[in-house]
Amino acid sequence: MSTGSRSVGSFDWALILIYLALISIGWLSIYSASYNPEIENFFSLENLHFKQLIWIGLGFIIITFILFLDSKFFERFSSLIYVVAILSLLLLFPLGKNINGATSWFAFGSFTLQPSEFAKVATALALAKYLSDIQTNIKTLRDQLRAFLIIAIPALVIIPQPDPGSALVYAAFFFPLYREGIAAVYLILGASVVTLFVLTLLFGPLYIALGVVGIAILFFLKNRKRRPSKMLYLGIILSCTLFSFSVNYIFENVFQQRHRDRFNIVLGKEVDTQSIGYNTRQSEIAIGNGGWTGQGFLQGTQTTGKFVPEQDTDYIFSAVGEEWGFMGSGLVVVLFVLLILRIIQLSEKQKNEFSRIYGYSVAGILFIHFAVNVGMVTGLLPTIGIPLPFFSYGGSGFWGFTILLFIFIKLDGNRVNEW
């Protein structure tokens, strides 16, 4: 098969269908969540659902554009795209518009653009490009550091906007790294960091330090005959203790009270009051009100009454839960799982390393968004404001995820041609 004879049939229709299903349910949910019977004109720009329809329409143009680009375009220009993305993030500091306390937007009149939604795509491309380079050996410390830098730079630029939620998404790149052979010790390290973090918040650094010392001594005595390195043990104890104390310091001094409250609620440390945890509680009530089959479209009392704050953006899943019930919200969970699994499956099939690494990045990013968002809306995770892909209202987010996914569909469509 030659490049010229490629037909639309070579794109993965399963992915496209799941995508279409998700944006349809997503749009209906935005319609419900933003429904205002007083605005009779459907085509009013006051209607968020109408605006979202415009974003979706424009999204289709972007999709067409991506699918007709040369498949080598992304690999070739990935570095440039990455640099442009970082620059646009940096430009936010002098030029960005502050919305809800975060300077994450460029404003063009009433139209706003959130560059962090596109930076994910750029980072995924750049990482794929770097890792697929023949000269890169991920087993070497030097290349590992470089890969980490590619991921860390956008994340570090996003954190102080402040938008810790979007920065958290960059943890997703751990998945392609691991897939490409980075040592498992990083996995253990990552898990340990998270565990220590949570334990520190729960019990305070002093107990953690004592605990670490205690466990270290036990291990040391047990392995005495093998003459363990005292320096290694001391190093572990010191770094754990230091980490624990610094987490505590950051938590108490760098975090704002609202962030602390969010963690404390999920950790069960503070009793809910009317204001803190209000969003999550309202969201749980709305979802719970759905029952098996839901209240029906535009019939959810919590959704119609706008009881769940930010329901058209971060809390959109609660509208699905209330109006379509366990059947509807369960279907959405299944669709997301199928989407991500299909991407992983297709990635594994890629002969081109760039496509495989990019695919894993896409799967990882979608997974982190899905897991953190649904986890938050169902009250399993603290309130971390990141959108649900294809659902949450917003042009930048919708376009970002669409571009992310369709570049992969395009790369995958090309797989056949490279035989």
């Binding site: 019977p37 998945f175 691991y178 897939r179 052979g181 996995l187 309202q282 749980e284 009530i285 709305a286 979802i287 719970g288 009100n289 759905g290 029952g291 098996w292 019939q299 009392t301 919590q302 119609t304 009454g305 706008k306 009881f307 839960g321 209330e322 019930g325 366990f326 919200s329 369960g330 969970v333 299944v334 997301f336 799982v337 991500i340 699994l341 992983i344 594994e348 894993y360 799967a363 990882g364 997974f367 899905f370 897991a371 649904v374 986890g375 169902t378 009250g379 399993l380």
Partner: protein, 640 residues
Amino acid sequence: MRKLLLLSIVLSTGLLFMGRLFYLQIYDTSAVIKSENNAIKVVYDYPQRGHIYDRNNQLLVSNQPSYDLMAIPQDIKPFDTLGLCKLLGIEKEKLLKELNRARRRASWLPAVIVPTMSTEDYAYLGEQMHKYEGFYIQKRSLRDYQIDFGANFLGYIQEVNQSMIKKDPYYKSGDLIGRQGVEQQYEKVLRGVKGVKRYQKDRFNRVIAPYKEGKLDTLPVAGRNIQLTIDAELQKYGEELMVNKRGGIVALEPATGEILALVAAPNYDPALLVGRERSKNYTQLDADSIAKPLFDRVLQGEYPPGSPFKALTSLIALQEGVVSTENKVYCNGGYRYGGKKPLGCHHHKSPVQLIDGIAYSCNSYFASVYRSTIDKYNTPQEGIESWRKHLASFGLGNFMGYDLPTGRKGLIPNAKMYNRSYNYPTYRWGTTATISNAIGQGEVLMTPMQMVNFTAAIANRGWFYKPHIIKNISGVDTIPSKYKEKQVTTIEPKHFEPVIEGLNNVYNYSGGTANFLKVPGIEICGKTGTAENSIRIDGKRVDLTDHSVFIAFAPKDNPKIAIAVFVENGYWGARFGGRIASVMIEKYLKGEVTRKDLENWVLTHSLEEEYQKPLLGKPFPINDGKRISAKFLAEENQEL
């Protein structure tokens, strides 16, 4: 292996979320309730409560509008506190206290700040209300009493409390419910069914649309008017007669069992339990532990019936065939048995037969026939059981099934009771141990309502309808079927004639106990009763002046009214009870009273002094000075 990490994490996350959704949506049902509290505003449309009429269609109870000043604390904007207080005529501290209380409870819920304002207050306030944001006036419907009597059978309405809401979820906080009397008994008929409208609210508690397009809304069902069997004129007259006395009068129409009058004294003006002063007045009435105005002596008081019971003793003896009207009994001032203290009797001609026995109320005669009745059987146990069954057929010793919510069973002793009290079979007991039953003393207890019922059964010569107060329910045009079922006693009709003859002679004999109570043109049959009674003061029994008891019906043939009168510490049967019965009967049958002498005597005689005696803390005479009670101080060592 590296290929499986993300894959397995995605799968397990999916499963975890499905589980979480299942928990939130299916397993934990609390969210549905929380969501309703959040989002649905329920507005009730209360139908007007049914009116109450008397048997002659006189309006007794209707409704009046009442206005509550309400507030939704979170909507209140800074306002001219002093100005509002002046408008309402209340003190600033009180207003602020009420507002604080409402705010603490739930600042988004409406709360009553000033209840039941008058129509004038409302008219005045209405124009000013726009100045006070967050306040509004809610109209409610309260009872409007056209009469100042009858509180004991009318009952009242009050706001439901938590336990009522728990018992019947129809009621919501703030709803009104009937308590006591016909208001309670016919609550569902009178109240109708409130309409429900549901509105979708948003999170600012604003109504945005009807909930589910109003599909679940219901229209109110109007309350029905009811007509009572009470004759308001007779009731009013009875209450006037009972001023300064304690006790009760109950009158029935024998042919139907309809309650014509139900007087409990002391009574109170039903309007006391309406409006702003309701709970203060109620507390006051409830706290009166001496006069007990809330205690319905007609339905709840259990007393020894005394001599009227002799009519029943005769009927049972006749039915059992142990006497005929010819049998003679000699009376030498009392009935002697087993060498014990005799059952005393007063002076009258001797010997007596049945009719004279009743007319002269001879204790010896009834002791004798009672003994024959019980001794007809092999054992006193069997005899008592047979006797008890006859009495039960008159509705005695059990609830009567009338349509008022309070009552007592009274007491007719059975064999088991005597066995227990005499420790049978270790010790035996004989008929003579129960001999006081013959004359309505001893263990027998009845409510005045039970007394009038057996009187009606005698008037009817052997049957009765269960007493009831409902005459008609508008729109349904019927009454509960149990009040249309004839209750037949175990006594054959023929045995009633001699007894009725005796009861008639009570009035007709010059030596009859009620001769002076005759009413011209009306053949009355009646029986006096005098019931000994006592209370305990500091743990010692102290005799009080006897109760005055009287039963009667009239006319003798085709009776139209049966009546029982009970006056606490009224000396003897004819003195208060007999007089009251005569004028009540005349009032009902003729519409006016010609025996003004009897009427004036009753109206001008008070028993308040009698009721004060035990409260004064010193010895006092009882029964018109005939017996001086020295017991109060003298009988320190005698425990009775």
